[in-house]
């Protein structure tokens, strides 16, 4: 009966023991929760995300999160994010697959922008016009610190600071949150204010909105261009600045033993340079079957006020099933309205592992200046006689619907360790054939370990 080759089962036994001890009810512990644990634990979490749009953007994102308690009442969290992004993203120019063209749409425009960011949207292959895409290659690093501290027995404050740096984009942010537990800790009121200051500095400078994209030293003559650098006589060398102030008021309510509700209202006030210097708009000639005859830089208003309300319910259906449902309504003074419904159900398959299917559906209306392209004015010789004040062909500001569906598998490792993998597919559909439908695969792996 004895084992010939003793095998090591200790690790599995440790996991089994730890999960048993942690999973067992902690009534006695809860009764003494004012004597909070002062275990000098350090939690290390990491996640790897892979985001792939069909033949477009690829993003690899690595994130490391370190949490540690400084004193009994305070927790300090540090995070570090490293993203590498490469691929191509829609630049706003017409998607030729949907515009009748009379030959000659094999235009190539090469743009060199931020360091390491070069693009050569060569479209000479028939049927593979990619002039509507801009290739990019960027690296982002971000650092954040969060300090959570108890003020009194029922109040808590959270202060954060964040820095994010890309080749051509810096962002500095800070926020403060105040949390108040009342109603025997069944209710929590939260109030937060955040501020961020972003700077964008494209290598070439900031282009003047609604001015023509030039190629080298001349306005683009699309018919004969093959490759050049996108320029403009109207570039401003100074970086552009954007400031955002966010406000949030929220209430979390424990309804009964198995249900929690949450409601938030938030508002964001953005000001400064809100335009995307890399986005462009095509000018087409209707008399030539909407052939693209010129390209303009986009331009957006210099202020934006966004608001949103958010409701969420979490219900523990049974010992092994928990459901999350949420709804968000977003609106702003650019006429963008968006509704998002999100549902997740977690099924515990054992005390240590679970599956969580996820579905999200959202609809968004277009910004008032969202336009797929501009028709040139054929009555005069000046094709740009009829320019609007603002225009953007950015797909993110257009009317669209998105469905995301996926599944996550999670598992505990040891006493406090966690492992998870999430696979999702996002399907996005745009109004007015602005862009082809987009399918995106998202794969994320998460690992957290406590020391």
């Amino acid at each position: 009966m004895q084992l010939k080759q003793p095998k090591s089962i200790r690790q599995q036994l440790t996991i089994a023991t730890s999960s048993l001890l942690v999973a067992a009810p902690l009534q006695s512990l809860a009764a003494n929760s004012s004597d909070n644990s002062d275990f000098e634990n350090i939690l290390l979490e990491s996640s790897q995300l892979y985001y792939a749009e069909q033949e477009r953007v690829n993003v690899f994102k690595s994130q490391v999160l370190v949490t540690g308690s400084i004193t009994d009442e305070s927790i300090l969290t540090a995070n570090f994010v490293f993203d590498t992004m490469s691929g191509s993203s829609p630049n706003g120019r017409i998607y030729s697959g949907n515009v009748t063209t009379s030959g000659g749409n094999s235009n190539t425009v090469a743009v060199t922008t931020a360091s390491g960011f070069s693009f050569n949207a060569n479209s000479n292959q028939a049927g593979a016009d990619k002039s509507w895409l801009t290739a990019f290659d960027d690296i982002r690093t971000a650092y954040g610190l969060e300090w959570e501290t108890e003020l009194t027995q029922f109040t808590k404050a959270v202060l954060t600071g964040n820095v994010s740096i890309e080749n051509d984009y810096d962002s500095y942010g800070t926020s403060g949150t105040f949390l108040w537990d009342f109603n025997q800790r069944r209710s929590t009121l939260s109030m937060a204010v955040g501020f961020s200051d972003d700077t964008i500095r494209p290598d070439a400078g900031i282009p003047e909105g609604l001015e023509e994209v030039w190629c080298g030293s001349t306005a683009i003559a699309l018919d004969w261009l093959s490759s050049c650098e996108a320029t403009s006589p109207f570039f401003y060398p100074d970086p552009a600045d954007k400031k955002v102030v966010d406000y949030l008021v929220g209430l979390t309510q424990v309804w009964n033993r198995s249900t929690i509700f949450q409601a938030n209202y938030s508002m964001g006030v953005e000001s400064g340079y809100l335009t995307d210097p890399y986005k462009q708009v095509s000018v087409v000639d209707p008399s030539q079957g909407n052939k693209e005859i010129a390209i303009l830089y986009e331009k957006r208003p210099e202020s934006r006020i966004t608001q949103s309300i958010f409701f969420k319910a979490m219900n523990v259906v049974s010992d092994s099933v928990a459901a999350h449902m949420s709804y968000r309504f977003f609106w702003d003074d650019w006429d963008v309205n968006a509704h998002t419904v999100d549902g997740k159900i977690r099924f515990d398959v054992s005390s240590r592992s679970y599956f969580q299917p996820h579905v999200r559906v959202s609809f968004q209306s277009a910004a008032f200046f969202s336009q797929a392209y501009i028709e040139s004015d054929t009555k005069t010789d000046n094709p740009f006689a009829d320019k609007p004040d603002y225009i953007s062909a950015d797909h993110r500001l257009s009317e669209q619907g998105t469905i995301t569906a996926g599944i996550k598998y999670g598992r505990t490792l040891g006493k406090d360790g966690k492992f998870g993998i999430r696979v999702e597919q996002m399907h996005q559909k745009y109004k007015a054939n602005l862009l082809p439908d987009m399918k995106v695969w998202i794969v994320q792996a998460l690992l957290s370990v406590r020391f």
Partner: protein
Amino acid sequence: MPQTSLHFENGLWVGRFEAMASPCEVLVDHPDRRLAQKALELAEQETRRIEQKFSRYREDNIVHRINNSNGSCINVDAETAGLLDYSQQCYELSDGLFDVTSGVLRQVWKFNGGDSIPDAKSVERVVKHVGWSQLVWRKPELILQPGMEIDFGGVGKEYAVDRSALLISALKVKSVLVNYGGDLFALGARQNGKPWEVGMQGPEADTVHMIGKIELFRGGVATSGDLHRFLLKDGIRYSHILNPKTGWPVENAFRQVTVLGSSCMEAGMLATFALLQGENAEEFLKAQEVEFRVVR
């Protein structure tokens, strides 16, 4: 039953009570009496709760309900489910050598130091009712075949040690040692940064002297052995460690195994697994890369 007591001895607060047929101690290396009192209360309360809930000698608990279910389906609470899951994992990890259904073998094996060895027929009759694989465990539902029993005796004391330590860990003191009849857990080192010194008693019934000591900073220690519990017939010593697959004692079992682990339960389970390996106990423990002591 002796009263619960708390005394300051040799620079430590020593809380004592008796539960699970063992002397229980909570040692708190901190000058604050209230902290020691709180630690002792938490430990005693939790230990009595566990004993009340999982003792097989009571008729008012879940174990009694399960063992008298006579083949019907029993819906168990989350904590019992956790212990059943754990028992199943231990059964699988030990290749069936650790089995919480093996308690019925006590009907024929009476380990009282005497010489009454059961006959093969009666062992065969009882061993039919042993085997985790014969029961149906689909959380939270458990179905035992008539005649089967479960017994958490093999994990109960270690579970109480770890649970007590877990509850005490919420207090602002780390220099605590929980010791229930030799199965113990240290939350952290002594106040002076030194380890706890744990004396080890030998397996002989009449030994009072220590056969060694273990220095423990943090973690669990558990001992399995056959102190007082063996049968002697015709010069053959029958260990109380029974192989649930055969219903007979494990041959050439070590007399005592002590293991250090990250928890008391883990240490206890490894010590039990090791005894079940018979003469291969040491090889088994070496493969686990744990600190251990054995007595042949």
